[in-house]
């Protein structure tokens, strides 16, 4: 029996190479960690987080003289292969070396034995052993490899730097992290690539790594008590974590599988989890119960026949939004069914609401004048509004009803009436008076100031145009500007009238 002390992959490789060359069977060798401890890393990775690992030199331990005990783990097959001892340097596939280099970081003390046994089998009569992933040795090695690579991946994910001010007053970042395996050297190069322009140190119980902007240096491991103090920014991070969580979806098991609870102590956000979870069902239920806006639209009140008289009759009973409560009546569109030109305003005003017809108040009179000047006969056009009820609030003294702009919910609820009117009339020209109808027809990013007077082909009409609402002209305090707007309105009307 041969005893070999191994701490690093290089130790193992040197020893394995020598033993393979001299035909030492896997059953005749026993690997152990230096200092007599069977497993150095397991000792420092035990439950006590304060335990610092002993730091020992990384020189290969000298092979000791063969002992008298026999390993109980001798595989039967190795005795058959014993006859074929390779005298020359063994040829080892690169795939195995890569695997071994990774598995060497695993904390399982049996890894060296397993690696040597597998190496023996590969270099004797099973050169393709690694491709048989269901072989017990290969299976175990692959699982160890996976555990290590996963641990590296988790280290890349879960290291949390804290900003500190170093001796020179400069900015540096320090993190304390507890990996499951001895992976510092597998993970550190990643951090030096990612945080090239930053000075950082990562501490683990096993080993530490420091990057000064140009060089990566390794040092001793330190216990959790050496972890840096908190960082102000963690408050923001926790705000983010709490806000990005969706309480309507809970998958706790999935979270714990990917973010194992043993890592939670070094993750500042993890302390929020319990509270987020306990509040979640209530929050989700509240979201399901709480609604905004109107459940219905005018579609619910739409008659079977879509001719104008039927629509008008049905619209008189529309309760899709709340505006019907205060308004006197529905003010539906007006004009011949065969109209070539259709005007759409925003909503009926005070007088329209009382009379029940669109554009009969001051704005309507201004529209009539403009139509006359543009040589358009009001009797031949169809006039309507996006919203069919008057929205208002009482003036301070309560004597007058002041116009209020309809909001997007009311516009959406009422819109089916407008669509039905357009479908019935199929106007050659469609004139939007003001921003509300223009945005209803062209889309919400339409700007009157930019696109007024331009003729577009839309799904609603081959000649669709937006211009000033007469009420906007009436409200304009600057007389000169009002006159100009009025001129523009007439020009725009002429533009649609000329057919």
């Amino acid at each position: 029996m041969q005893f070999v002390t191994v701490q690093t992959f290089d130790d193992w490789r040197a020893a394995a190479r020598a033993m393979l060359r001299s035909g030492v069977q896997p059953s005749a060798v026993r690997f152990s960690a230096p200092d007599g401890s069977a497993d150095l890393f397991a000792a420092c990775d035990a439950a006590d987080p304060e335990a610092a690992p002993p730091t020992s030199p990384r020189s290969p331990g000298p092979p000791r003289s063969p002992g008298s005990t026999t390993s109980s783990r001798s595989p039967a097959r190795s005795s058959e292969a014993a006859a074929t001892t390779a005298a020359a340097a063994p040829r080892v596939p690169k795939a195995f070396l890569d695997l071994a280099r990774t598995v060497a970081c695993h904390r399982d003390p049996g890894r060296w034995q397993l690696l040597y046994r597998t190496l023996w089998r590969i270099s004797h009569d099973e050169p393709f052993l690694l491709r048989i992933s269901t072989d017990d040795d290969v299976l175990q090695l692959r699982r160890m490899e996976k555990a290590v690579t996963r641990d590296v991946h988790k280290m890349k994910a879960f290291v949390r730097f804290r900003k500190v001010t170093d001796d020179t007053g400069g900015e540096a970042f320090v993190a304390w992290h507890r990996p499951d395996h001895q992976i510092m050297r597998l993970a550190a190069p990643f951090f030096s690539r990612r945080f090239r322009g930053m000075r950082w140190t990562i501490l683990t119980p096993h080993e530490s790594a420091t990057w000064d902007g140009t060089h990566l240096q390794y040092g001793d491991g330190v216990p959790a008590s050496e972890a840096p103090e908190g960082d102000e920014l963690e408050q923001l991070w926790k705000t983010y974590y709490g806000s990005i969580f969706n309480p309507a979806r809970l998958k706790v098991r999935a979270m714990k599988r990917e973010m194992p609870v043993r890592h939670w102590p070094t993750l500042p956000e993890a302390e929020l989890i319990a509270d987020l979870l306990s509040a979640a069902p209530g929050r989700a239920e509240a979201m399901i119960q709480h609604h905004e806006g109107f459940a219905d639209t005018a579609t619910k009140f739409m008659p079977a026949d879509r001719d104008l008289p039927s629509l008008r009759q049905a619209a008189a009973r529309c309760h899709a939004c709340d505006l019907h409560r205060c308004a006197t009546q529905t003010v539906f569109g007006e004009g011949p069914a065969g109209a070539q030109v259709m005007f759409v305003g925003e909503q009926p005003g005070d007088q329209e609401d009382l009379v029940g017809r669109p554009f009969v108040g001051p704005a309507g009179q201004l529209l009539d004048q403009a139509l006359a000047q543009a040589d358009v006969d009001r009797g031949e056009v169809y006039v309507t509004n996006v919203v069919k009820h008057f929205k208002f609030k009482p003036s301070q003294r309560g004597k007058r009803r002041l116009h209020q702009k309809p909001n997007s919910r009311e516009i959406f609820a009422c819109r089916p009436w407008l669509e039905a009117e357009i479908a019935e009339i199929q106007p050659q020209s469609l004139v939007c008076l003001g921003a509300t109808p223009a945005q209803a027809i062209f889309g919400r990013d339409f700007r009157i100031s930019r696109s007024r007077g331009k003729v577009f082909q839309t799904e609603w009409s081959p000649r669709t145009i937006a211009t000033w609402h007469p009420a906007a002209i009436l409200r304009m305090p600057d007389a000169g500007r009002a006159a100009q707007m009025r001129e523009q309105l007439i020009q725009d009307l002429q533009r649609v009238a000329v057919q």
Binding site: R131, H153, L236, S243, N246, A248, K251, M255, L267
Partner: protein, 417 residues
């Protein structure tokens, strides 16, 4: 408003975007000081909804002029509003990134003023990060619907990934719920990005030093369950996008109840199982050679909720089985329920050296309870005799529902995590 308050509002507003991938850009941008992209994405944290936190996923603003009914940020919602400045987003990204909280930035926005203005703001964030901070980490920009081609082109120079949300599976769904968004425009925007990506990669292949253009490609998101559209339509749309637009990923997002929900949509719990099945079906299309039409076997054109789509397909196509794992071609092996792509590759590798037995499959950790009915091995597999049984579908059905989807409610009650 304090940064922290803004962050709470604008992260909350962004969480309904399912996209979280930070993978795809194979190499780090040259000249980067902070940040890298090396192909593999990293999930830096997980929230109790089981979703990973990979990117700082925020909106620049949640003010929006659109009225998409499923969206918490629609104009008609009473949700509190906030707006970040470009510099605030840049600082936040760098601060989070330097502490290794995140893999990069996912930036989207509600539409303010108009599409182009909004898009310009998003581009300014990405450009500042790249040029002023030599930031080499991941950036995913959501392109704004109806933004001009020139802006979308510029976005691709600074971002790793661009995405245009298809939002809903069919044109009719869009008309109903997102009247301002039009499918032809959405598809056109995707087409523009695809062409640009292709141009740049062809130039690079030809040896020109073309700048990077969205090296992680483009993705999209579809909301499922807000309309009655069946799964088969969802998958057909996804299949078209993978095929015609060369998308890297289509994300399915179960329509989730939102704060300030719109009364026009039904309030209900998100169909999480359905979402899960859609992802499984998506995988079958991308990696297992299934076509969209054949995956959905159920009469109502939806995926079965209680069994996975591959098992459902196998039950509906029993004549295809049993498959001999020692002889069958890769395409056939991929159709066996319970066996994944990696196991298929292992089977192909092992059987060159030795015949596979039941024990080998079990060691590979295939889902043996499902698999055993459908495979022949070198030794006797007693499970395969069930293939001709009338009650096969009952036999292979999992006895308990997917626990992981339901464990949360109890743990929320008990407080145990």
């Amino acid at each position: 408003m304090e940064i922290r308050d803004k962050l709470a509002i604008l992260a909350d507003a962004a969480k309904y975007d399912a996209s979280c991938a930070s993978s795809g850009a194979k190499t780090t941008r040259p000249g980067s000081e902070i940040g890298s992209t090396e192909g593999m994405g990293i999930c830096h944290s997980y929230t109790p909804d089981g979703r990973c936190v990979s990117l700082l996923k925020i909106l620049l603003t949640n003010y929006c002029i659109y009225d998409c009914q499923y969206c918490v940020n629609r104009i008609s919602s009473d949700t509190p509003r906030a707006r970040f400045t470009v510099d605030e987003v840049v600082t936040l990204t760098m601060d989070f990134y330097k502490r290794n909280y995140i893999e990069g930035l996912f930036l989207s926005s509600g539409i303010i003023q108009n599409s182009d203005y909004t898009m310009e703001q998003l581009i300014a964030v990405a450009k500042t990060l790249r040029t002023d901070h030599r930031y080499g980490g991941y950036i995913h920009l959501k392109t704004i619907p109806n933004a001009s081609d020139a802006l979308i082109q510029e976005a691709g120079l600074w971002a790793d990934r661009l995405s245009v949300n298809i939002e809903l599976p069919t044109e009719q769904d869009l008309v109903q719920l997102a009247p301002e968004k039009k499918k032809p425009q959405i598809v056109e925007a995707m087409g523009g990005i695809r062409e640009k990506i292709q141009e740049h990669s062809e130039d690079r292949a030809a040896g020109f030093k073309a700048p990077r253009y969205a090296p992680a490609g483009q993705s999209t998101q579809m909301i499922v369950g807000a309309t009655p559209t069946p799964d088969v339509e969802v998958l057909k749309t996804a299949s078209e996008l993978y095929g015609d637009q060369k998308l890297r990923r289509v994300y399915y997002s179960a329509y989730s109840p939102i704060p300030h929900a719109d009364a026009r949509l039904p309030g209900k719990s998100p169909p999480l199982v359905r979402e899960h099945r859609l992802y499984q079906a998506d995988w079958l299309m991308r990696f297992y050679g299934f076509a969209a039409e054949e995956i959905v076997a159920e009469a109502d054109q939806n995926l079965s909720l209680d069994i996975d789509p591959k098992l459902a397909w196998a039950l509906a196509n029993r004549h295809f089985f049993p498959v001999d794992v020692n002889r069958a071609a890769r395409e056939e092996l991929l159709r066996i329920p319970g066996i994944g792509v990696r196991s298929v590759d292992r089977i192909l590798s092992i059987r060159r050296y030795k015949p596979l037995r039941v024990a080998d499959l079990k060691k590979m950790r295939v889902a043996w309870n499902r698999t055993k009915v459908f495979v022949l091995t070198a030794d006797y597999n007693p499970g395969v005799s069930a293939l001709d049984k009338v009650d096969l579908s009952r036999r292979v059905r999992p006895s308990s529902q997917q626990l992981m989807l339901f464990d949360a409610a109890s743990s929320a009650r008990s407080g145990e995590v």
